[in-house]
């Protein structure tokens, strides 16, 4: 273990750290929004929901690696050249959207039927029912799955290395390739991920407990 190598690599890891954080944040927000839309689409069985089922099947049953390869190396074949960072974000949204949709849908379906009927007899429209009754209650049932998905998606960013994005994993592998110091750089890689993931998972479970305490009843 040589601290000189660690010291020299700190700036590279800081760049990788913030790049990972940036791509993950945008990708996860995108995945959450897509997930909510898809979940409500399926919940209300709006026209086209069969196509969405297909999307979920494809997204969940193919590796992110293949999805990124398809976007980055495949799409230029039909004249669509998407830059690496956008490819990464798109890939994360495509993958995460289906996981988030399943998480949200599970929550929406867990809302008791009597709650929906109570909203109906008060006269709420479909949209109002979704906004004031189904979503705020469904989200509570969805939270554990959403939290797990967020962590899963952050870990998946390590695959961005295949499209030459200098995130944390790429930085570590690259430095190992140049200087052959596996121990130092792998340690820095693990620490970088731990700095993101440990506070996040503690924060998520704290948030979940708090929301539950405030909101669950009957």
């Amino acid at each position: 273990m040589s601290w000189i190598y660690i010291q020299q690599a700190i700036p590279a890891f800081i760049n990788g750290f913030f790049l990972t954080l940036k791509l993950a944040t945008i990708g996860i927000i995108g995945a959450l929004l897509l997930g909510i839309v898809v979940a409500f689409w399926l919940y209300y069985q709006v026209i086209g929901h069969h196509v969405l089922r297909l999307y979920i099947a494809v997204s969940r049953n193919t590796p992110l690696l293949i999805q990124l390869f398809f976007i980055y190396y495949g799409l230029p074949g039909i004249g669509l050249k998407i830059p690496a960072e956008q490819t990464a974000i798109l890939g994360l949204i495509f993958l995460g959207g289906s996981y988030m949709a399943d998480a949200f849908l599970g929550g929406l379906e867990a809302v008791p039927k009597i709650q929906v009927e109570s909203g109906q007899v008060v006269g709420l429209s479909t949209w109002q029912l979704a906004r004031y009754v189904i979503f705020p209650q469904g989200i509570l049932y969805s939270l554990p799955a959403i939290g797990a998905n967020i962590i899963f998606l952050i870990k998946e960013t390590s695959i961005f290395t295949v499209i030459a994005i200098p995130e944390i994993t790429n930085t570590a592998l690259d430095l190992i390739g140049q200087n052959y110091r596996s121990n130092e750089y792998l340690l820095m890689m693990v620490v970088s991920y731990a700095i993101i993931l440990i506070p996040l998972s503690l924060g998520l479970s704290w948030f979940e407990r708090r929301l539950r305490r405030v909101n669950f009843s009957n």
Binding site: M1, Y72, Y73, P76, K81, P83, A84, T161, V162, I163, A164, P166, N170, L173, D174, I176, G177, Q178, N179, Y180, S182, N183, L186, L187, V190, V191, A194, I198, P199, L202, W206
Partner: protein, 279 residues
């Protein structure tokens, strides 16, 4: 609550650092013989050789699933002279050192350029080929001088001498770092960068199939040598390989290897004597 979070963080970090420190300490103190000896390899009837799987014409897999190339021919020859079967371990550029030092491979014949950094962590046998770094780009916007790369996107393969050159000597290009040769050439074809840098011999081979491109800079930095790599401290395999390479350099094996495996892929830009080492 906050205290709890901080303490769990500290605990996890301490455990991680601890594991790595122990690993680093225990893996250092072994100076005598590392890895399998030639006798052990002969006894097992099989030698494990690290090769590329996607680097035409050095080490690649053809349409029928057979391994082909300049390095593969050498690997077969080594297996033959040792009287053992060859087991191929496919690697990427930046996995070559770890493949040796973890014992996954006895020898690496993967277009391995000798560098001072690498010499610290593995041992190289005598070289069997000479190369230098080149830069290829589109003919329409050909790059002929390294200063033209200032601020441009340049594709490199992680863990190659070209990457080292562009991180230590000429730092003004924006590097796109790929894991494999397939990915880096695909990215170049898709127009994701202005140029690619790698050992000139691959570039010659690639531009022959891609006439829109040309190797605008044929030699950059010092002449470098390609040699078999072995695990650091594996004297038994190192000595045997040195003798083997010396023999093969003298008896013209590599000229034949060149004619068979490289000449069909290189254009008229290259001659056998540019690549092989004859003494």
């Amino acid at each position: 609550m906050k205290k709890k979070i901080i303490w769990s963080l500290v605990a996890v970090l301490v455990i991680i650092v601890g594991i790595f420190s122990v690993h680093a300490l225990t893996s250092k103190d072994s100076s005598s013989q590392n890895g399998r000896t030639i006798q052990q390899i002969k006894k097992s009837g099989e030698i494990k050789i690290a090769v590329f799987g996607d680097l035409k014409p050095y080490g690649w897999v053809d349409q029928n699933g057979n391994r082909q190339g300049y390095d593969i021919a050498l690997a077969k020859k080594i297996g033959q002279d040792l009287g053992v079967k060859v087991k191929y371990v496919q690697v990427n550029a930046n996995a070559r050192v770890d493949a040796l030092n973890s014992g996954k491979a006895d020898i690496a014949l993967a277009n391995f350029t000798v560098t001072p950094e690498r010499k610290q962590v593995i041992d190289f046998a005598k070289p069997y080929m000479k190369v230098s770094i080149g830069v290829a780009s589109k003919k329409a916007s050909l790059i002929t001088n390294v200063n033209q790369l200032n601020g441009k996107n340049l594709i490199v393969n992680k863990g190659t001498t070209a990457e080292t050159y562009f991180t230590q000597t000429y730092k003004n290009a924006k590097l796109l770092k790929f894991d494999s040769k397939t990915q880096q050439f695909a990215a170049l074809s898709d127009g994701r960068a202005d140029a690619i840098t790698d050992d000139n011999s691959y570039l010659f081979a690639w531009v022959k199939d891609h006439p829109d491109y040309q190797v605008g800079i044929k030699q950059l930095g010092d002449q470098a040598y390609i040699a078999p790599g072995v695990q650091k401290g594996n004297k038994s395999v190192l000595n045997w390989t040195n003798d083997e390479i010396k023999k093969l350099n003298n008896n013209g094996f590599f000229t034949g290897d060149y004619q068979q495996n490289l000449a069909p892929f290189f254009g008229d830009d290259v001659k056998a004597s540019d690549i092989t080492i004859n003494k």
